[in-house]
């Protein structure tokens, strides 16, 4: 039993160990930021490796904690993302005197996400959710001096509290109608009665809030803009990914009985999300805000994929998220480096960027192309497979709409590329010397972007795992 725990929960355990180590380091004598950061990055790498080692499946605590190959894979993706983020934020954290606090918050929230993903019970689910959100609210406020930072944190904590209130209401109704909190049992009691539909809608709205689907998305842009870049990228990639994983597994497993209903709901959400996200993204000048809205639009496409409600659906979702991790983090990486070293965060500042920083420009461009879904980047495949999964239901009006919206999204991504390559700027961003670690992270992202698409093994692997869903 015990070694079974060590086996099944190893990712959570390593992470917790790491957290405690950080606490002790904090208590211990002063150390240079650089050494701490290196230690943490190495630790994260180990964590990732440990996760990759072997994949098992099983339940713990009478089904409250379940895990299987797919879930482990998902957690690994999250680990990878966190590793990349921490490598990228090297430049920002190097002369920040609360590095450890920052990581503590980050890791706690990550730990929460792990529990969230492998939750087999509404209670754990709720705990994981909150555990992943609350530290982030604190982290969003990490630039204590910045007005925007605190405003962002306030908005995040209040709206997330509100949403969790709504979510809990839903859970309580589910409990009331079914009398159980365990997913496996719950499924049997799910039917089409109004109260459960209502409960389900409340639950979905809670999810929609976390993955920032319209109209539950409004906090996103502000928080992304206000929070430090590292936190923003964490929010936009990691927490979104975690919630999506859970969302899909809950939809497919627990709420299969009312699939026809949630298919419609997802469709409505997807359409509105893509459309609003695109329309807002067109106008943005602040890079983080821009990425916020673009990622909202991306979520819309993800919802299309999920709505396929098939193995292909979940497979394409995970595949896309893997790619999304690379592309979005590459973009954020460049932004974080630039904003950390020059404090410039606006697209208009990036005019003539290519003249001064060709490497960064190419990284950013490729990342954006991948986000836009242009071959030969992986984004093309990811987006395409999502659409294909969605089209499987045969609702083509929906696909046409999405396809045409891809053109709009294409417009605003190209807008940035245009600024970088084609526009003149009297005060361009000066040549930036990137820390080695961050450069490494960028290369990882690049390789990911360029390889993941062609390496069919990735998709096939995910697909094969998705049966275990």
């Amino acid at each position: 039993m015990l070694n079974n725990i060590f086996l099944l929960m190893r990712q959570e355990l390593t992470l917790s160990v790491l957290i405690f180590l950080l606490l002790f380091i904090k208590l211990g004598r002063e150390r240079s930021n650089a050494s701490i950061l290196n230690f943490i990055n190495i630790a994260l790498l180990l964590n990732l490796i440990i996760g990759l080692l072997l994949s098992t499946k099983g339940d713990l605590f009478s089904g409250m904690f379940t895990t299987n190959a797919l879930i482990i894979l998902e957690k690994n993706i999250l680990n990878l993302a966190v590793l990349i983020i921490s490598m990228q934020s090297y430049a920002w954290l190097k002369n920040n005197n609360q590095v450890i606090e920052f990581y503590l918050l980050l890791f706690t929230s990550l730990l929460g996400m792990f529990f969230l993903i492998s939750s087999g019970n509404l209670l754990i689910f709720y705990l994981g959710l909150e555990m992943s959100t609350i530290p982030l609210a604190a982290a969003a406020n990490f630039d204590l001096s910045k007005r925007k930072s605190s405003e962002a944190a306030m908005k995040l904590i209040l709206s997330s509290a509100f949403s969790s209130g709504i979510l809990l209401m839903g859970i309580s109704f589910l409990y009331g109608t079914s009398g159980t909190l365990t997913f496996s049992i719950l499924t049997a009691h799910i039917g089409n009665n109004p109260l459960q539909i209502f409960a389900f809608i409340l639950l979905v709205s809670g999810f929609a809030f976390k993955i920032s689907a319209v109209p539950f998305h409004l906090w996103t842009a502000d928080v992304y803009e206000g929070a430090p870049v590292a936190v923003t990228s964490f929010l936009s990639v990691v927490s979104k990914a975690a919630v999506l994983f859970t969302f899909v597994s809950i939809l497919y497993k627990v709420f299969q009985p009312i699939a026809s209903t949630w298919y419609l709901i997802l469709m409505i959400l997807a359409v509105v999300t893509i459309f609003i996200g695109n329309l807002f993204a067109i106008r943005q000048d602040n890079f983080k805000r821009f990425l916020a809205f673009s990622s909202i639009a991306q979520v819309g496409f993800i919802l299309i994929g999920i709505s396929g409600s098939s193995i292909a659906g979940s497979a394409s979702l995970i595949y896309f998220i893997l790619i999304y991790v690379f592309s979005n983090l590459a973009a954020f990486g460049v932004v974080s480096v630039v904003s950390a070293l020059t404090g410039k965060e606006n697209i208009s500042d990036f005019k003539g960027f290519y003249k001064t920083n060709p490497l960064l420009s190419w990284v950013l461009t490729i990342a954006l192309f991948s986000l836009a879904g242009v071959p030969p980047t992986a984004g093309f495949f990811g987006k395409l497979f999502l659409m294909m999964a969605g089209a499987a239901k045969g609702n083509y009006g929906f696909i046409i709409f999405a396809a045409l919206n891809m053109v709009i999204s294409f417009y605003y991504y190209l807008r940035v590329v245009k600024a970088i390559f084609m526009e003149e700027n009297e005060t361009p961003i000066e040549k930036i010397s990137i820390p080695l670690v961050s450069k490494l992270a960028m290369y990882i992202c690049l390789v990911g972007i360029l390889v993941t698409g062609f390496a069919t093994i990735v998709y096939d692997y995910i697909y094969s795992l998705s049966f275990g869903l």
């Binding site: 242009v374 696909i399 245009k418 069919t456 998709y459």
Partner: protein, 493 residues
């Protein structure tokens, strides 16, 4: 021979260019790659003709088929028939010419050549793929380089043109994608060959044909989705305009042809719309050209008019017309590339493209002027040049369709040759002939690389124009194979 070479060579070229130093190395590498590709293509032609001569009647030769995404039934399935081989040859020739004319591109030359090669790679991949997904993949691969080429190295209102072009082409490929989805979910495969065998239910065809066809049509400057053509071509640097008009628009025509062949019933029942649009494009393009004052705009609009013939031929859905359409694609590719090359040479010397400011160039630059005239004569369909062969074949084919309306369309499009004569002669008369202005009196004639490029293209034009039976041998069997079941299917219905 393994067709993947056709993709590998450009790929390797591009990678080597990335590690090259300085314009001198880069352009040489680019040229070497392009020439290798051209020789590959010609060798392929030889092999192909050999196969056919030895009585191999398969639809596609040199097929190879690898699974790519098993679970999604996506294969990397490549193979060629006469049509695609013609397109490949066209591409190869134009690439060589394009690299030659941009021999002295010193602004960001590495990126420039890299993108050119990448674009060509997309085209090659597109033409050899027999799997709709791969097709689509390469179609989109070819879009981005255009955007960057125009936006960075272009002239005039370049960013807007680039943006417009990229967005419209993207919209096109989005429509194509919708069409592909329809096909995929009705046949559960992307494989062209299998789909052709299976056939698609008429209902599905009726619904999805417009998407796919219009989608590709946008690439082929189908009226009224042609507006990216003039600005795009006008703003692009010379080589890019050559590639755009010579290669990229052909992607569209080729795609339209494939789609029409996949969904014959739909193509037939929508035929009258297609033909109407094509006719409008032809006439309208011609008249619009007549009003232009900028050489590049003249050629761009005339491209709209000429590509109308491609669409017309496809819309007529009979062997001769389709044959003509294919020949027209090749011919127009060479011709318009030649035209853009000539314009580029003139522009690089006189620094103006406005007809009004030019004149009497024949005095100072006889070679370039001759090239210009030849391109012009080819474009107005003079016998001995490829244009004549192509257009006449299209006319002949479309006239075989006894319906009165189609006859009318044929006559109207035929009338365009008069208008063509008008605008070509006006351009020639004003720029090449007439008194020369003083500030142009001391300009130099073409350099060796320009001569080589022009010579190459002219050779292509002449080969088709003087010995059309050669290209017919290449194309006609394939068009027959392509169309014969279709004509059956249509008559059956």
């Amino acid at each position: 021979m393994n067709l993947s070479l056709l993709i590998l060579v450009p790929l390797i070229t591009a990678l080597v260019i990335l590690f090259a130093k300085g314009l001198k190395q880069i352009r040489v590498i680019g040229l070497v790659g392009a020439v290798t590709q051209l020789s590959l293509a010609t060798w392929l032609l030889k092999l192909y003709m050999g196969e056919r001569a030895s009585g191999n009647n398969d639809t596609h030769l040199f097929e190879s088929n690898y699974t790519w995404f098993t679970t999604l039934h996506i294969n990397y399935h490549i193979g060629i028939d006469g049509i695609s081989l013609a397109m490949i040859l066209l591409t190869a020739v134009i690439v060589v010419a394009g690299i030659l004319v941009s021999w002295t591109m010193d602004k960001l030359s590495k990126e420039y050549f890299f993108l050119l090669v990448l674009l060509s790679m997309g085209a090659y991949g597109f033409f050899i793929s027999l799997d709709l997904f791969t097709l689509f993949f390469f179609l989109e691969v070819a879009v981005i380089p255009k955007f960057l080429l125009i936006g960075i190295w272009g002239s005039g209102n370049k960013t807007n043109s680039a943006m417009k072009l990229a967005l419209m082409l993207m919209a096109g490929s989005a429509l194509v994608f919708v069409g592909l989805m329809g096909i995929y979910y009705s046949t559960n495969t992307f494989d062209l060959v299998q789909i052709t065998h299976m056939g698609i239910s008429v209902g599905v065809q009726k619904f999805f044909f417009p998407f796919a066809f219009v989608g590709f049509g946008i690439f082929a400057a189908l009226f009224p989705f042609h507006t990216w053509v003039p600005d795009g071509h006008a703003s692009a640097p010379t080589a890019a305009s050559m590639f755009l008009a010579g290669i990229s628009m052909k992607l569209g025509g080729y795609g339209c042809l494939r789609i029409a062949a996949l969904m014959p019933e739909a193509a037939n029942s929508y035929g009258w719309i297609i033909i109407t649009l094509a006719t409008i494009a032809i006439i309208y393009g011609a008249f619009a050209t007549m009003m232009q004052t900028d050489l590049k705009y003249i050629n761009a609009y005339s491209s709209i008019s000429h590509c109308g013939f491609v669409i017309l031929g496809i819309g007529m859905m009979n062997k001769t017309a389709v044959n003509g359409a294919v020949i027209q694609m090749v011919s127009h590719g060479l011709m318009t590339a030649l035209f853009f090359a000539a314009i580029g040479m003139i522009y690089s010397r006189t620094h103006t493209r406005l007809v009004a400011q030019l004149g009497g160039l024949l005095k100072v630059m006889p070679f370039i002027s001759t090239v210009f005239v030849i391109a012009g004569l080819c474009s107005l369909g003079l016998p001995g040049f490829s244009g004549f062969v192509a257009e006449m074949t299209v006319f002949m084919g479309s006239w075989q369709n006894p319906s009165g309306a189609y006859r009318l369309a044929t006559i109207l499009s035929g009338a365009s040759i008069v208008v063509t004569a008008v605008y070509i002669l006006r351009a020639t008369g004003k720029t090449i002939m007439g008194p020369i202005s003083n500030e142009h009196a001391l300009l130099a004639d073409a350099t060796w690389n320009e001569k080589l490029a022009a010579g190459l293209l002219i050779t292509g034009i002449l080969i088709i124009g003087l010995a059309p039976f050669l290209i017919n041998q290449l194309i006609m069997p394939s068009t027959n194979i392509l169309m014969s079941p279709i004509t059956k299917a249509i008559t059956l219905k």
